[in-house]
Symmetry: C2
Subunit: 682 residues, 2 copies
Amino acid sequence: MYGGALYLMIRFAFAAALLCQAGFAAPALMPLPQKVEQAAGKLPVDGTFSVAATAWSDARLERVLDRFVARLSRQTGIPLLSAHAADPSHAALRVECAAAGPDYPTLGEDESYTLAVAADGALLKAPALAGVRHGLETFAQLVTPGAEGFEAPAVRIEDRPRFAWRGLMLDVSRHWMPPAVVKRNLDAMAAAKLNVFHWHLSDDQGFRVESKRYPRLQELGSDGNFYTQDQIREIVAYARERGIRVVPEFDMPGHTTSWLPGYPDLGAQPGPYSIGRTWGIFDPVLDPTREETYEFLDGLIGEMAALFPDPYFHVGGDEVNGKDWQKSAKIQAFLKQHKLADNHALQAYFNQRLIRIVEKNGKIMVGWDEVLHPDLPKATVIQSWRGQNGLADAVAAGHRAILSWGYYLDHMRPASYHYGIDPTAGAASKLTPEQASRILGGEACMWTEYASAETVDSRIWPRAAAVAERFWSSKDVTDVDSMYARMETVSRLLDWTGVTHRTGYQPMLDRMAAGRPDEALRILADAVEAQGLGPRARARKYTSLVPLNRLVDAARPECETVRLMEQAATRLAAGGAPDSADARMLREQFARWAANHARFEALAGRNALLSEDLPLSKDLSAAGALGIQLLDYLANPAKPPAAWLDEQAKELARMQKVNVEVILAAPRPVKVLLDEVAKRAR
Amino acid sequence: MYGGALYLMIRFAFAAALLCQAGFAAPALMPLPQKVEQAAGKLPVDGTFSVAATAWSDARLERVLDRFVARLSRQTGIPLLSAHAADPSHAALRVECAAAGPDYPTLGEDESYTLAVAADGALLKAPALAGVRHGLETFAQLVTPGAEGFEAPAVRIEDRPRFAWRGLMLDVSRHWMPPAVVKRNLDAMAAAKLNVFHWHLSDDQGFRVESKRYPRLQELGSDGNFYTQDQIREIVAYARERGIRVVPEFDMPGHTTSWLPGYPDLGAQPGPYSIGRTWGIFDPVLDPTREETYEFLDGLIGEMAALFPDPYFHVGGDEVNGKDWQKSAKIQAFLKQHKLADNHALQAYFNQRLIRIVEKNGKIMVGWDEVLHPDLPKATVIQSWRGQNGLADAVAAGHRAILSWGYYLDHMRPASYHYGIDPTAGAASKLTPEQASRILGGEACMWTEYASAETVDSRIWPRAAAVAERFWSSKDVTDVDSMYARMETVSRLLDWTGVTHRTGYQPMLDRMAAGRPDEALRILADAVEAQGLGPRARARKYTSLVPLNRLVDAARPECETVRLMEQAATRLAAGGAPDSADARMLREQFARWAANHARFEALAGRNALLSEDLPLSKDLSAAGALGIQLLDYLANPAKPPAAWLDEQAKELARMQKVNVEVILAAPRPVKVLLDEVAKRAR
């Protein structure tokens, strides 16, 4: 079937570049497969497209194929009413799965697959269901409109993940995330080949699971926003169908304020307690000196262990400030009595008791890196968030570990930042191979102090896809331009999984503009970058009751348009012609910015949601006007005075300071031109 | 509580104008209430907002309030965790409902309400639940961002519907509409105060309900795409919660091709039959001469009558071409034997039998206007779709009737067209008051030959909101500019009900552009108007398997931007200054169009979904370039030659012909300027 196709072996980075050539539509694969060989020809994908399992199959595999067909139909808009081939051997895409693989997704299972696409058909081969799922996601990314309609290019792919633990952590406590939010993100995770959903289910601001044994946990600790046990089971089943493990986290002994309104006796202080409404590190903490605490935890963990089939169980353990322990004479007496040097030792004592409870319930404990202590049993998996040293220390000490430092999506750093961090770099680069083998992978983390159900998708995607590539693809896949080009295309493909990271944008702008035509606002929002945890905490007093409906909440962490302008400006500065397409595009965009403030002012009058953005809008127009001036300088022999250049550089620097919790990205391409004009003026 | 507010009585049309003043954010009410009095002051809507029932209440009313709070929270982005006031008498919005009203929404029930908003609180009063729902929708429309945050202006509203039957018909047969599509449209219907969901459940292309008694109907007649009885019950309950009656339609004796693969004996010809895949009027028809047909219908209608609690039951009856009757010697013999003059008489015979079955099952029959016949029992409600005469004839003959002629959304006419048609106009204007009282209202109809689950929302909304206003508001509410201004704002508000008429646009463009930045496509799509049934049927051979993923499917029926440009051009032609904001806006937009073709060409290369649009794109740029020339002529004393003016007029006319099933709207504002330049040149 594939004999006729001449395949061309292509190395990783080159393949990446080839697969995302600007100028015409080529498929964007992310994460990039381990090996991609391209050939001439293409497989048409039209209404006659069909798929069939031609080797082992079962109901679960058939459901995988059903979902794939539905997704492909959404992605292309093609009705695929007869996609299940009557004669499997003539299916356009044949799926040869050797065996089911584990019943529940399992750490380290074989996730490999090979995919061969030729003009007359495609063949996906995998040893087990996990590889089938991944291969189908890759196939979906290959499908793109061509000269005669949708098609998949002829290609031969061999693929397997670099790391076995590729996770996304979602905090559902700071802001409540209804089941639909979780489900659509699970679909997007599957598209990005992520395989662990780390569900941060309790924190100071909310206990989000129904406990039948201790119902006051959710009754007094969740404002009514919690998952019923049926919903938990449904979501776990949903994830499992998509090859995603669900690791629940119940953060303790700190971050437990929401447990205490219902069960104040668990706390180190007498209470009363109320749900946390602000952000930060809270004093309330479990009392590790009372036997009743462990009895309670045994009951709770027993109940929760039965709800979550995954063998790993996350107990948190981060950010215990110890103040409530310090203030308790009884607890201090306990420290002396048990010869515990300090709070860290007390937490280690707590963890030793805790791990026995976790293990008694058949689970392997996972904790944030603060739980690391010489007395901690080696079975505990460490999640390193405070730095790469913690990861190296943990695996050197014999623990298995995953990296989350560098992957905090809520910090709103650019994708390139996260992409540049490798779990085996930094301190981990000095580990022995045996030690390094205990690095299981990593997790992108989405804390939700500054994200609501409405905005969270746009904080996770598409940057989590870049992190997913870091966990999946070879270590030497590091080309940032290729990553961005593919990520932006994949971001649009993710629309078809149901996440609202792109579709949620315009409605938020429309809300701010009171439902009026709001292009002026969109032009502004397209040119700013939302800031994360640090700048937002410094900007104003946030609580869980503060609406997340301002420009910073609608704006994205990165500006695609501005990035493309920066690239154009760089090419122009490097010698592009003054009448090149780059120059014309920049001039058009600068003119639009320059004219925008007058229109934005008209929109922002008497509107509290917009008036705070007026200074930003003024800067945008100034940046546009300056950009035009600089294009003129580049096109003409006249040179500007040095003082003027200095003044403009200062202005551009000022404009790039945080304002209303966003940063104006617009000055960046202008700065590229300014530097070039300054260079030529010297 | 309201004594302090000084209310200003405002007449309908004036109120409409006032409520949609351009320039600052004012609430857009649609449908416009019967009486609106504005006053000074405003009620803040922030995190402390609360609502409570202060008179009669029950679980159903509490759910209405819950949904209102959730919707208001989505609309504003404000977490409303404590919206249910602990002390009802201090709620920001107090709801005084006198009684439950009917258990199931009932034709003619009291839907009135009064709403008084003042700076210190709002009071909604209604005799029954229906009025509460409508009043809450009106309140939600009042809430808009102001100088200090979200607020509702002080206002006193008295409101009640003009017509009792205000419907939306949705065809789920031509293209399958999954339950989620129906549900989100029910939410949008409730927002538009529509109260009848007419569910066109069977047609030649699909039988969409599970029949337990005759399972081959859905097994062989639906491609697997049908509602289970549980889903039907769930959707009926969903509608009922929102005050919407569900009227099922099983179209017969024509439009029944999909019934016949499973039950060929029902057909007038021996068969075999297969599901219809094309559009139009089909020959297959039930055999009205066999007793077994009526036994079958008795069984089916009995089963379906139990599934749908509404007393009205729609039996279709349209477009029977009679060919299969004509071809059957047995049926022709039956005509002679029963002295039936023709096929129409045979259908009347069928209907007389049918109405007995319908009535035996406790239902009132509804049919399309073809069923009208002197022998038809007067209890039958006539739905007039072929003209206003049919409506007048029906009510003159003693039937009750509803109008759908003029409200066919799938024809893709502008909202102003539908808005201009009144159920009591035309032939109906000559009816006696007693006759006219039998006009129950009307229904907007969405046939889905050219709409899929992905595109249907954008074919229904926002135009259905304008039709809803026609059914609800006073007959003298006819100001088209006011309607458009309010409709566009309400269209954006409808986002929060879940319909995807706006959010689905960009993903469809992204799909066409293969996931690349596609502003050039968006600029083109923003300037074209999708065509409906007629032009599409003439353009190419459509079947239910043809993808609806092209420009015509993404494009909207009307261009907001172009409409605003036309208004600006009209003001400019009427004497606006050459440097006015209107002129600047037009010049900027024309320049964008003029520059667009080069960028669109770069995007469209090797892409079958875009290359067909190249001529259109070229015309757009030409229109933009001409617009700039004309602005220059208006600003300068130079006059163009008459031949050039003629030539341009011809070009603009040519550009406005249907092309790739859309019409370029861009020439319209250009034509306004051309006419003015020509006038000045004379």
